[in-house]
Every structure is written in C-alpha cells, then in structure tokens.
Amino acid sequence: VLALVVPALAALLLYARSIGFTFVWDDLDLVVRNTALHEGGWAKLLLRDFWESTGGGTGMWRPLVTLSFRVDGVLSQWQPWAFHA
C-alpha cells in the first residue's frame, strides 16, 4: 500500500497549487467561450470536432474529454477549480 500511496501523495501535493489556477490559452476557447459546451444538446456536443470552438475544425474527435468538461462545468457552475482539481 505504501508503494501506491507515496506516489499518489507526491502527485497531489505537487499539483495542488494548480487547483487555484484559472483558465488560460486554449481553455478559454474550449470551455469559457464554447457556447455548445454550455448550451448545446448532449448528442450534438459529443459529435462535434474537439477544436471547432476555436474557429476551425481539425478532424479530432475527443468526446470523452468534451464530456468531462461539461460534467465539470455543470457540477461546479463553471468554476475553474473543478476543472483543475
């Protein structure tokens, strides 16, 4: 058990500070300004191009990440700490 707990604690302590960070760079397009993430339907959201909200699709399809963004936002009222934590 110690072999598992020590690395986990190290990771948690090392990145605990990032929980207080805000959205930066692509976070703004992917989360903050992504209207489909805030308002669109689930099916449409999960079928969208991952980078479509940045102004140009790239053919990348990452519905699991998009789904996690929406779940985080809905549960935390779109507060950045939930995304970082």
Partner: protein, 279 residues
C-alpha cells in the same frame, strides 16, 4: 479532475510495477518519477491538456487488465482492456498505438513472465503464452472499429492543407522528373510571363504546387488550365516573373533534355513547364 487523474495514474504506475514483479521500493520510485516528471506539468496544470491525462490513465488500466487476463483468464479483464482502449481513443488519437503497446507487453510477459503469469503457471491454468496476445488483438479490433466510426461520423476538418505533398528539394533548385511528352511551352503562352510574373505566386501557389507532379505537363488539360488561371489571378501586375527568376543557366542547359525524356518543372509554380526562355 486533472490533478485527481494524475494522482491515480501515479498510483497505477506503482501498481503496474508491483504487478511486474518489481520490489516495493522500485515500484515506489517508479511512481514517484512519474508523479514528479516535469514533462507532465502541462497535461496536469492545463485544463486543455486533460486529453493526455485521460490517455495515460486508460493505458495504465489496460495494461493492468491485460496482466489480470494473463493471470486468471477472466473475460471481464479482457473486456476491461477493450473498454480502456476505447476510452483512450475517445480521449486522444494517439491511443492508436495501444495494440502495439499491448503486444509488446505480451511479448515481454512471454519472455520474462511477470508475477501474474508465474502464478497462472503454478495453478495449472492455460499457458499464459497462448493467451498473452489476446489483449493486443482486442485492442486492434477496438482501434479498427473506432477508425470506422471516426471516419463515418466525425466532422471533417475545415482547414484544407495548403499542400498535398511537399518537395524534398529546396524551392530554388526546381524539380526534374521524367516526362512523357516532349512539348514545351513557348514564352508567349507562359501564364506567369504573360501576367507579369509574381512574387505572390512564389509564396502561395508555388508552395502549393511544389512537389506535385500531377499538375503539370502530365496533368489533364482542364487541370492545367485551372492552374494557369489560379496563377494568373494571384499574380500582381508588374512583378518579376518567377519563371524568369528561375530561368538560370542550368535550366537552359537542360533545355535539350526533353529529347531524352526529361522535363524541367518551374520550381515556384504549380504546373510543370519550362517557360519559353528555356528555348
């Protein structure tokens, strides 16, 4: 979520090391190295980097499930491998290599059996080697299914690539290839010269055409006319002709080569021709 995912991944790295038969200290060190690796800072501290964190987590769980499959032959473990590969693919496309990773893991287990495989042998279960590759095959099936779904349902990129193929040669040196028709354009028919040359063509249309031997002397007449129009539209009046700029002595020396089947392609345009100055 990013920090939690990274925390879980660090613990799973140590768990995987233990499952491979390493000692407690070695497993702990492996987990610590993963937890504190600076290269992972972007994936953890940046929300948009969550894709990598998810990919790593799914990969580690898939490797652990593959080990469980080798140990017990549980179909649940094999299904878990498939589910993890699917989750990894839905998080980042790099997961396409997971079948190879699992195959390498199976080969490693076959040559240096881990604790799970050793236990399976001691309990008289089926040969671990015979089923070691099953997770890799499952992952391959999942990847192929994902590729089919992705091709059929995912949105197409809006950004068209500027060039289909790029020449490996520098722009200034042009390109030679074997042609089938010896006919050369005359200077009057050269659209670049007629349009007064272009600097813009060299930057845009020229870059699109570099390395594309289809559009040129071998191309269909319609395609070539389209290329001509594109170049003429892009050419600012009064500029210096690209063909003139690239009409060096080497080109003149090569003027006789069509007789032996060689052609010279104007290096900064999207269609093949030796412009008239060659002759």
């Amino acid at each position: 979520v990013n920090v939690l995912v990274h925390t879980a991944s660090a613990a799973l790295v140590a768990r995987l090391a233990l499952a491979r038969g390493l000692g407690v200290r070695t497993a702990m060190a492996a987990g610590l190295v993963f937890a504190t690796a600076p290269a992972l800072a972007e994936s953890v501290a940046w929300v948009a980097g969550r894709t990598d964190a998810f990919l790593v987590l799914a990969t580690l769980v898939a490797l652990l499930a593959a080990g469980r499959w080798r140990m017990s032959g549980s179909r649940t473990a094999l299904a878990a491998v498939g589910a993890c590969v699917a989750c990894a693919l839905l998080a980042k496309e790099t997961a396409l290599i997971l079948p190879l990773v699992l195959a390498a893991d199976a080969a490693d287990a076959a040559h240096a059996p881990d604790a799970a495989a050793a236990q399976a042998r001691s309990t008289g279960a089926r040969s671990p080697r015979s089923r070691a590759s099953a997770p890799a095959w499952v992952a391959l099936v999942v990847v192929l299914a994902w590729a089919g779904v992705h091709r059929c349902s995912s949105p197409r990129p809006r950004i068209r690539p500027r060039s289909r193929r790029r020449s490996v040669l520098p722009r200034w040196c042009g390109r030679i290839w074997r042609g089938s028709r010896p006919g050369l354009r005359t200077r009057r028919s050269c659209p670049l010269v007629r349009a007064g040359g272009t600097g813009g063509v060299g930057g845009m249309a020229g870059s699109r055409g570099d390395g594309d031997p289809v559009v040129g002397a071998r191309a269909a007449p319609n395609a070539r006319r389209t290329a001509d129009r594109a170049v003429v539209r892009a050419a600012p009046a009064g500029g210096r002709g690209v063909a003139d700029r690239s009409g060096c002595s080497i080109r003149r020396a090569l003027a006789g080569l069509p007789a032996v089947g060689w052609r010279w392609r104007c290096p900064r345009s999207r269609f093949a021709f030796p412009c008239a100055h060659v002759r």
